[in-house]
Amino acid sequence: MEKNKLKGWLYLLPAILFLGCFMVYPLIDVFVYSFEESYNFASQTYQGTGGFNFAYVLHDTYFLQAVKNTFLMVIITVPLSTGIALLISVGLSSIKPLRRLFQTVYFLPYVTNTLAVGLVFMILFKKTEYTDGLVNLLIHWFGGESVDFISGPYWAKMFVMCFYIIWVVMPFKILLLTSALLSVDQSYYNAAKVDGTSGARIFRKITLPMISPTIFYLVITGFIGAFKEYSDAVALFGTNLNAAGMNTIVGYVYDMLYGDSGGYPSYASAAAIILFVIVLTITCINLLISSKHTTYN
């Protein structure tokens, strides 16, 4: 028994060492930096300890803007993308002909490079000297005023941003949901049909509970993913996100470290810790809710 335990630890050792060096140690370091005032990488010096960094970050308008942006993205994209993915998956699994084709089509964005997708969005939305973008053409068609989605009003930029995020995360969700739907045993549906259950009730009382573990998984990972949003914003609005007013929390951290106004590891660390606390809290709430609602696994 004891010997086996030792063996177990031995097998785990490489992973523990690796994780310790590259995950746990940096995490602790970030935590430490966040409490050290004006830490300097080069000289490895700091001026004092305390909550100063947090106070600074929490009063920085750029940071507050980033938090607002991030929260908006999370609140809009997670429910919408999951809901739409569910609709599409249900549609996909109820049609027979061409299912494969549709599945492939819906999966394409997943294997497409983010920047390539960004390019497509530029064609759709960007105003240049020659064209207002495809979407504006449509708006014109219906008699509307053209909108500058990339450098225009805030809501337009947020709309494009959310549209983009949803579009990027959708394929993965569809993939998981269709396979979850297909794995529901046909005999449950047969039993329900014999009992005269209406389609809506079958969906609500049988399909949804059966695939709820997958849905919760998607929601939790969706929240985490959306809170870490950064590269998609860069793909759409360029690297100077603060100027565009579309910065995210991760973007703020990056800017504090390496941006034009960068070189502040202490502020970056504080912002990172704040993000960490937010994600942790939300994930805990999610897990709590999901464990209450998916007693069946």
Partner: protein, 364 residues
Amino acid sequence: MKVVLQNLTKKFPNRNKKAGGEVVAVNDFSFEIPDGKLVGLLGPSGCGKSTTLFMICGLQKPTSGKIFFGEDDVTDLPPENRGVGVVFQNYALYPHLTVRQNITFPLENLKGEDKLTKQEMQDKAYEAAKLVQIEELMDRKPNELSGGQQQRVAIARAMVKMPKVLLLDEPLSNLDARLRLQTREEIRRIQRETGITTVFVTHDQEEAMSISDVIVVMKDGEVQQIGKPQDVYDDPVNLFVAKFLGTPPVNLFDGEVKAGTLYIGDDAVLSVPGAADGAVDVGIRPEGFLLKEDGALCCALTGVEVMGRDISVVSTNPHAQSKAIRSIINAENKVDTDAKDVRFALKPNKVLLFQKETGERIYF
């Protein structure tokens, strides 16, 4: 209520597209299930039992043929309007609902005039649960129940609407031998108590024989024989039915009829006045052997198994189609276990003759 199946046929497009054509799962099935009886639908795997059941309950549409419940043609009626209760091969209990919720599930679907209050539903669910003796398990989830208990829940759910017809698809196949015995008695009791016309699908002949009023033996989608279990056992119409029914199974020999006498090898074992001359398959039920010093059939003894009331004599014969011949003999007979040979006389009504090519029964 009686159920009439009229020339019921179901063809599926072949799954293997290259082979083309279609699979005939059920072919020209005609049968009238008498009111209030328990009918056992019996046949080997893939013979179309489930398909027949699915057509009766309306989950599958017959390719041709008609189904009547009483006098009503229900062929085109959707399942929910047929008033059937179904227990599926794997029970199909909703895993996320408690036993109580599972049982009330069908009741909650009722609309309009039939709509029930919460209390009525609870009462009905309790009644159904009581019928199958699971009333203490109402708040458990299916995965917290044993196989037998799950099966009863499935029956309760199928019965809660008091269906006119109850359909059971191999309901005992997931249970162990003892539970199976117990549960089939249970099903028999419930069926008797409620008098619901019931179709019971199984590939286990013993199960079908023990609880059915009538059995239907199927093979490759075709009905082979319909009748009371004992009649079908005593009087099978062909070799398939004879082989399918009975444990231990019927013993088969190569035989020959010459001038009204049946020969197995050189032994003239029985006088068969009505049979025409020629080679035949001979089936002898295990209980058709009588130990007799001067018996006509001589076999080499390999062993004797004592089973209390009976003994089972295992022997071999060069003309037998199987390695061992099993005969069940009353334990009052003493068998000399050291002897090389045993000699049997045969009970004429336990000897069945079949045509070599077609397997049709030859009566004598």
